[in-house]
Point group: C2
Chain length 110, copies 2
DNA sequence: ATTATAGGCAACCAAAAGGTTTCGCGTCAA
DNA sequence: TTGACGCGAAACCTTTTGGTTGCCTATAAT
């Protein structure tokens, strides 16, 4: 349920390095579009587009304050990523275990 | 160090849904290109291109066996994603804590 | 020796992504 | 009330992406 007719999903949203930087910038502070775009070597419009993609993925929320629009990160949608990851985590941990056993056997064999 | 002049990074590699399906398919079995492409509604060449992207990100390894090329998933590079995530996990967990406290206070106030 | 199978490579194409500049409109300050 | 500021929208451009088909080579199978 919870309102996401998401044209852009989380996986796609975080694929772009600029957007990952945006998240980092907004993770614990609200900031206006102009201020945000001061941190990037591109036009305000370009930054604005990236913000929309993040917004569609639910990763930022916007708040209108007078004539400015302030953005802040919303980390919750990253849970989907975490869930996806946790499945594979299982596999690389198995390999780690296997490697560990191998090394230990080597030690013992000496 | 460890050989990755990665033209494609992990974030980009997993952005595409077809590539995520490929990973799922190859997570615990080796499979030839033709067999793999039987699972997808697109040409063998298209699948092959996706496999190359995954390979450049280190997420699959290929092994030549006679005239066929077998692929298998390699989960380790997902660690980078995990590390990236763990930073933000902190934030949404804080919110969870805050929410929990709020709910508990509500309960007590009754 | 000949034929069939596996799969990479090149050329091509349409659509999407990432960027730009220009314009217009709402909001705040003089 | 007249600017100046904040920012979204539109039009446009270039590069990348995701797909296609056709061809070529290497390896198997008959």
């Amino acid at each position: 349920m919870s309102a996401s007719a998401a044209k852009h999903d989380v996986f796609q949203a975080i694929a772009d390095p600029t957007r990952r930087q945006l998240l980092q910038l907004l993770v614990n502070q609200e900031m206006s579009v102009t201020t945000i775009s001061g941190h990037f070597p591109m036009s305000r419009t370009a930054v604005s587009k990236h913000l929309r993609v993040l917004s569609e993925a639910g990763l930022v929320i916007e708040q209108k304050v007078g004539r400015e629009t302030r953005y802040r990160m919303q980390p919750e949608p990253l849970k989907e990523l975490k869930d996806w990851l946790s499945y594979y985590e299982l596999f690389w941990e198995n390999k780690m275990q296997a490697l560990k056993r191998f090394v230990e056997e080597e030690e013992t064999a000496k």
